[in-house]
């Protein structure tokens, strides 16, 4: 349980090239001495059952790969608001939906941000990050640490 502490979730498919960005960064963050007591998850996708832990967190930071036309390795930090989102769900849900479920079912949606990294190659069967995305990983980790510590400083 998150118990009033920040929750970091890196998600993506480790077998789809750059889509592994979230899990790779989450693995590093889970061992980072600058984040004692912070819960870090590495998952394939977000799911509704995460709402309870998200509701108990003081802050949510999600890490994901995006294809948005930016140069590979470009890092963007966006605020996430609780929203029902589209109906076009398969088995996964968006971070906005998890936040909305946390609010509706458990009474609290913490402040949340997405650290999105522009990627270029999400081919099946590849375990490697492309060079530009791999080079961005240390900055992604530092960005998450900064966001979490900012939260702690304000707490």
């Amino acid at each position: 349980m998150t118990n009033g502490r920040p929750l970091v979730i890196g998600f993506g498919n480790p077998l789809r090239g750059d889509d592994a960005l979230g899990p790779v960064a989450a693995e590093l963050l889970s061992r980072d001495p600058r984040l004692p007591g912070v819960t870090v998850w590495s998952v394939h996708q977000l799911a509704p059952e995460m709402a309870e832990d998200v509701a108990a967190a003081s802050r949510l930071v999600v890490l994901d790969a995006v294809v948005d036309g930016s140069a590979p390795g470009t890092i963007r930090v966006d605020t996430i608001a609780p929203e029902a989102g589209e109906t076009s769900l398969t088995h996964h849900v968006t971070a906005s939906t998890v936040l909305a479920l946390a609010r509706e079912l458990h009474g609290h949606a913490p402040p949340a941000v997405a650290v999105a990294v522009a990627v270029e190659d999400m081919g099946a069967g590849e375990r490697r990050l492309s060079p530009a995305v791999a080079a961005a990983v240390p900055t992604v980790v530092d960005t998450v640490v900064r966001l979490v510590r900012e939260e702690d400083a304000h707490a």
Binding site: H44, A84, T87, S88, T90, H91, A100, L101
Partner: protein, 472 residues
């Protein structure tokens, strides 16, 4: 002029698909077709791999039902080694499979279909979603989330991972269950009963709201197929394959290793989905359905008291072999209830903590076939290996393939009722998609073939004339 209405992609199912509805000159539905437009290739990529790698490889087919592939694949490997797992090994595999039945059926009913059932098919999509369910009926949403979590956490406790656990191996499982984990799972069982039984009360109380849909959602006579145990009860892990007709008369009952004598596999030029048929009746009349509805029809009973009481009520209301695919929703709850009961029974058995959980052997046969029930229906893995155990060929027959012909008929039936003129309404769109979701198709699982991919490219003039076409 005749025209096509294309719904692409279909939402809230697993994978990618396209539905094409063809209208005649008078604007009536002439044809409807459900196509899978993604391609995976697992049958091809596993060739040349050692057979013992197959369970882990095949689990990657799907993020929703990897346990089903682990089990069918491991059973095929057991067959290659000519061994059966020790009783505790088989029971632990069954336990994980049942946990997956709970989480997957909960995902389908509570997360994907309940918005339609709760708000109606014509409701605003902005509210007709899982968050809308949480707002209007929080207990239902909490129950769905709990059942998902219960199944996923049980899989995690047994296999160390929620998705793609590698604990199920050829010959059994690779580690016994310890008392602490058993007790942790048992501690969740009472809430699992409460959640599914609350959902059943809600579903049955609202049955009358859906009478119209139940009458039109894939309502036609067909055969049904599923595994049954030696005593005729529902079986998810082992047993024999039974096929019954629309009157619930047994058409065939056979060992899963003989599946090719009874199940034919077809090629659909317009889809990567491989449709099947019951061979003795042929491709046209041999349509059958698999999955939760089929299990509730085919078996004599569930063999567990709570689920059997519900099954008796279900059969009193709808008959022993109801024709509408709408009843998949109701039978998902029965399947969950039975799974929880059977999990408790297995966990309370004296030998569930035994450390004899795997049999060891090398290649003793060149062919192995494994059959089990996945949440969506019967799953068959069929491998051929050389004397060194290297995979030569693999054939996977997946629940969504079994249901493919029934899904097409269902789409045509719903489209004929709701498509009028050339206007696509949200209500029509969602009803066509919803009838597909009754089957909870898993397209990731159903498009694993490579090398026999039908490719049909047509160049059409504005008035629909074929100018050129290529088949390969």
């Amino acid at each position: 002029m005749a025209r096509d209405i294309v719904i692409d992609p279909v939402t809230r199912i697993e994978g990618h698909s396209r539905i094409t509805i063809s209208l005649d000159d008078a604007g009536r539905v002439a044809d409807a077709h459900f196509a899978v437009t993604q391609f995976r290739g697992f049958e091809k990529l596993c060739q040349g791999r050692p057979f013992a790698e197959m369970p882990s490889l095949m689990a990657r087919i799907c993020g929703i039902c990897p346990v089903s592939h682990l089990i069918a694949s491991s059973k095929a490997c057991d067959d290659i080694m000519a061994v059966r797992p020790p009783k505790t090994g088989a029971d632990l595999r069954t336990l994980m499979n049942l946990a997956q039945m709970v989480q997957s059926n909960a995902l389908s009913l509570f997360h994907l279909s309940s918005p339609d059932l709760l708000f109606g098919f014509d409701a605003d999509p902005a509210t007709r979603n899982i968050v809308g369910v949480a707002r209007l009926h929080p207990q239902l949403a909490k129950d769905g989330i709990f059942l998902r979590k219960f199944g996923q956490h049980t899989i995690f406790l047994l296999g160390g991972k929620r998705i793609h656990p590698s604990w199920i191996v050829p010959g059994g499982v690779d580690a016994p269950l310890d008392a602490a984990k058993r007790d942790e799972i048992l501690a969740m069982i009472p809430e699992a009963y409460a959640a599914v039984e609350r959902a059943l009360v809600w579903f049955k109380a609202n049955l009358m709201d859906w009478v119209e849909e139940a009458g039109e959602f894939g309502s036609f006579p067909s055969a049904y197929m599923s595994l049954v145990g030696d005593d005729g009860t529902v079986e998810h892990y082992d047993g024999r394959v039974r096929v019954v007709d629309a009157e619930r008369r047994t058409l065939a009952e056979f060992d899963g290793r003989d599946y090719a004598d009874y199940i034919g596999e077809g090629i659909d030029d317009r889809s990567f989905l491989k449709p099947t048929y019951f061979k003795p009746l042929g491709p046209v009349d041999g349509v059958y359905r698999v999955g939760t509805l089929a299990r509730a029809v085919v078996a004599d009973s569930f063999g567990t008291p709570r689920a059997d009481e519900e099954l008796m009520e279900f059969r009193e209301r709808f008959g022993a072999a109801p024709q509408s695919s709408f009843h998949y929703h109701h039978t998902r709850l029965l399947d969950i209830l039975h799974s929880v009961e059977k999990m408790e029974r297995l966990l309370r058995a004296d030998d569930i903590l035994s450390d004899r959980v795997a049999s060891k052997a090398q290649v003793n046969r060149n062919v192995g076939i494994g059959v089990s029930e996945a949440p969506r229906g019967t799953l068959i893995h069929h491998y051929a290996v050389d004397d060194d155990g290297i995979i030569q060929t693999a054939n996977l027959v997946i629940a969504t393939g079994h249901n493919a012909t029934a899904m097409n008929r269902s789409v045509q039936q719903v489209a004929s009722k709701y498509v009028q003129g050339e206007t696509i309404t949200e209500g029509m769109l969602n009803r066509v998609e919803a009838v597909i979701r009754c089957y909870d198709p898993c397209l990731s699982c159903s498009t694993h073939a490579m090398g026999q991919m039908p490719l049909h490219i047509q160049l059409l003039s504005p008035d629909g004339l074929v100018l050129d076409e290529v088949r390969r």
